[in-house]
Symmetry: C2
Subunit: 291 residues, 2 copies
């Protein structure tokens, strides 16, 4: 297992962590100034900054990506919606390619309309079928372009609105179904926030690694607070909660994973209220002491 | 599948649903007046009303129980805590026996102290071991007394504070380990609120039924709201959310289950604010139209 205690060379910042404080160009500069070698930006931030400008800025800093956020949201109320989702995912894949991302992270979607409080239907099996078919279609394009897709299982508390794939096991079942050849083009993004509670986590992480090309394309960290006051935006800083970060990273590295630990903290009540510099500095410190 | 549309003979009220409005004696009277044949009371409510008085009142109304809430909370910071939990579970079993309950529902507990925001440890595997050992000890006593224990898997969002058994599969694995003879003395309480999202739900419900004596000892209903505003107390009335109640009840009844659909709604923001009579009347109506 790698020793993170004296270096943050394997720290990546998911840019949502400081999205309320800074626009993307400043995030990139502030990360570069601190020796952070990678980020995982969100599409809306990239769109606001400009795709080519972002590409140039990253190149100027020699900064890489640990992922691109995000594709997915496949289920829809009608055929037009399903087709629009596929188009949007092609654009996400193209953007990721432009930015030389290692993968597009897929938040697969769930009951269409539920995020707006008006689900168009409640048949979660239908949503899961639409997700499977959507990923299959995106995967065809992703293979052409050479851009791996990483299914991110979200916490079951987000099953209605954001992702109806909620366990690593389910995500890996999808990988096995859609990419039986284990080509490396379809895998998972494993965020400890979503998966820490799962009694099958160790087993399924090992399964992800036990492939011709590992399915484990991204590893996200933050922490689970007690109490958690909000179902979406109350994630904790590493070390402030109950997630056994080092134990889980050990399982992840047992598979041969040697990539970034990407910090993704949505925190309306705490970290989004603090100065961005304090957030980044704390992430670096906790990367060393807690991850 | 049973037709609930014109009768509520298989409706049971979990008494937490109107706990903010009424004390237990009034809950029992109000249920009896509406032809509700069963309740599932909480220990603190029974203690407040008196165990023997409750027993007499139930008998006078010819009212039964669909479960007794609750045992569990096994993990503890030290040996004294573990021993105290076992004693408390013996008392719960004795009370359940006095009230002629069909089972004691076990909310098994999780990281000790997490409910108070100060987890004594974060090793969830340790908590799970303590849960297994605790259930094993309670089961010995439960067998003596003849009182089945029903493990209730809680939603993964409650894994840190309330229950580190979070899927039906995990609960059934425990049953298989501790009661390989499928004696009927150890099973599960399946609440749609906790389990609706699980892609293996249909399969695991079938597994619960596929035993010498069915593992499915209790069936709880309510609904999952979009958005859900609180991790504990924002459950919905049946029909107001996205849970496919009738589909899931179909799976449950496929196993031969012919017991009560127990309504358990914790709702700080809505149903606990309404008159108790309105809540009970709505439960009856939705039992017919949505369950």
């Amino acid at each position: 297992m790698r020793d993170f205690s004296s270096s943050h060379e394997w720290l990546s910042m998911n840019t949502a962590t400081v999205r309320k404080q800074w626009q993307l160009p400043q995030i990139i500069d502030e990360c570069a100034r601190r020796g952070i070698r990678a980020i995982s930006p969100w599409r809306d931030q990239v769109a606001a900054a400009g795709l080519e400008a972002t590409q140039r800025q990253l190149k100027a800093h020699g900064m890489g990506l640990s992922g691109y956020c995000r594709g997915g949201f496949y289920p829809a109320a009608d055929k037009a919606g399903l087709a629009a989702a596929l188009d949007d995912n092609r654009r996400a894949i193209d953007e990721a390619k432009m930015l030389d991302a290692p993968c597009v992270v897929l938040v697969v979607g769930a009951l269409p309309g539920a995020l707006q409080g008006k689900p168009a239907y409640t048949d979660i099996a239908r949503a899961r079928n639409e997700v499977r078919d959507g990923i299959a279609a995106s995967l065809d394009y992703a293979r052409e372009v050479g851009m791996p897709l990483a299914i991110e299982p979200l916490h079951p508390m987000q099953a209605a609105e954001r992702a109806c794939v909620n366990t690593l096991e389910h995500a890996l079942d999808l990988c096995d179904e859609l990419d039986p050849g284990q080509t490396g083009m379809l895998g998972v993004a494993m965020d400890v926030y979503h998966c820490w509670w799962d009694p099958k986590l160790e087993q399924q992480i090992a399964r992800a690694g036990d492939a011709k090309k590992s399915r484990l394309l991204a590893f996200h960290v933050c922490d689970w607070l007690t109490p958690t006051r909000d179902l979406l935006n109350d994630r904790g800083m590493m070390g402030d909660g109950v997630v056994e970060l080092r134990k889980i990273r050990g399982w992840v590295e047992q598979t041969g994973f040697a990539g970034f630990a990407e910090v993704e903290i949505f925190s309306e009540l705490d970290w989004w209220q603090r100065p961005g510099a304090e957030v980044l500095d704390t992430c670096i410190e906790r990367h060393k002491s807690a991850v």
